[in-house]
């Protein structure tokens, strides 16, 4: 089995609710804890979780960025350096922590994620907005890259001076294709959801089995315990 296939298989073992819970715990740890060591230990645990699900390269990349930001911040505070902004480094290291479980959430197949979230006491429409936003975020990044490439090919991004001289034109050239492409994707997604019967009022069944298993229980207990420890430290 290929590595991507193995990763996919591993991710299918975990429930969407578990990863969502892990994400919420990570956000709370990142923004509520004042102890840097606890923060770093929690990030390292997330690296191990990503490695367990086969996302070794991505996990290591995130952890290296985290360490670089921490090291940069420490050096800047010690020597009174103000460039790059310490605030920016601080935001980076605080955002890396929730970004790691969010990445795992992105990798869960949308059908499985929808089936898991359906079990939560959430209004169906709010749940749909959440799922679409989660699925759409990587698409937006990809689409933005495509639009940027097209602008470069057509000479709209020739130099920084050109961009500064005509900011509104540059904004227009970037925004208009972005909106068109996004609306096209949104329409295709809604058509796909409608033909699969999302608007039907009856109870929905899924191809994926959505059940909290031993792995989910362990991950949830671990994240709850880590959250309590990090806040109390």
């Amino acid at each position: 089995m290929s590595r991507a296939g193995a990763t996919h298989k591993q991710i299918e073992r975990v429930d969407g609710r578990t990863v969502l819970f892990l994400t919420v715990c990570s956000c709370l740890v990142s923004f509520l804890t004042t102890d840097l060591l606890a923060h770093a230990i929690f990030t390292f645990c997330l690296l191990l979780i990503l490695c367990f699900f086969g996302l070794v390269k991505q996990g290591i990349c995130c952890f290296l960025v985290y360490l670089t930001a921490i090291f940069g911040l420490y050096t800047e505070i010690k020597y009174g350096i103000s460039f790059p902004s310490p605030l920016l480094l601080s935001i980076i290291y605080k955002l890396i922590l929730p970004a790691m479980p969010v990445y795992l959430l992105f990798r869960i197949p949308s059908g499985k994620l929808t089936a898991s979230l359906r079990k939560l006491p959430l209004p169906t429409k709010a749940m749909l907005v959440l799922v679409v936003m989660l699925r759409f975020a990587p698409t937006v990044v990809h689409e933005f890259g495509e639009v940027k490439e097209a602008m470069r090919v057509r000479g709209f991004l020739r130099s920084f001076g050109t961009v500064l001289r005509h900011p509104l034109n540059t904004l227009e050239y970037a925004i208009v294709p972005m909106v068109f492409r996004s609306l096209k994707i949104a329409d295709e997604l809604s058509a796909s959801a409608i033909v699969r019967g999302i608007e039907s009022p009856c109870d929905k069944q899924s191809y994926y089995v959505s059940r909290i298993n031993l792995l989910d229980t362990f991950l949830m207990l671990f994240s709850a315990a880590a959250l309590i420890c990090c806040i109390m430290l």
């Binding site: 994400t23 919420v24 310490p86 759409f136 904004l171 925004i175 409608i194």
Partner: protein
Amino acid sequence: MESAVQNQKKKFGIRDIMTIAAMMVICFSIMMVVGSFTLPFPLVYLYGAAGIDGFICAIFFLVASYRVNKHGLIFAWAGIYGLIQGVMGYMFLLPYFLVVGALAEASMIGKDTYRNPIRTRIGWTINCVGNFVGCAVPLWWAWDSYSAMAVESGFTAETLNMQISMVTSPALMLLGAAITAILTILGTLFGQRLLRKHFKKSGIVG
């Protein structure tokens, strides 16, 4: 039968939900980029970031507004923003953003107001000024713990002093709100121009 069809027309359909979600994702991505770029410049970050967000994101709000044209859109927009802030650790901001959303929604009462340039301008301006004031809420709520956390996080004394003077002076708060409102109004004017020039012609918005 007719009233059931009318009721169905008032509710958000799947296409509306997808449109709102797509536009909101782009807006949040832009807000993150704007935040990262303005952070090294405390003055711009404190007084201008909300306005810049309001300027650029106005077009996405207008596209959603003209396309969906249903009440509850701006309330949902502000509510989801509040929810994201809540997940980030500022749970007390959720009720604040719900109030902002309710105020903005109240400015949209009436028929077809989501396709009215002036009403959409007012609604979006209320939402963005609410976002600007929302940045000060954590500071008013718990200044001591905020300043302790800020110093540990690498905030410079200059930024902190600037923040203190901003949130404690009504004149400076008004100045920030005015800058945000002006940029937001300019953004909606620019957005209306793009709507007329591109989106209405192609028929993707009403």
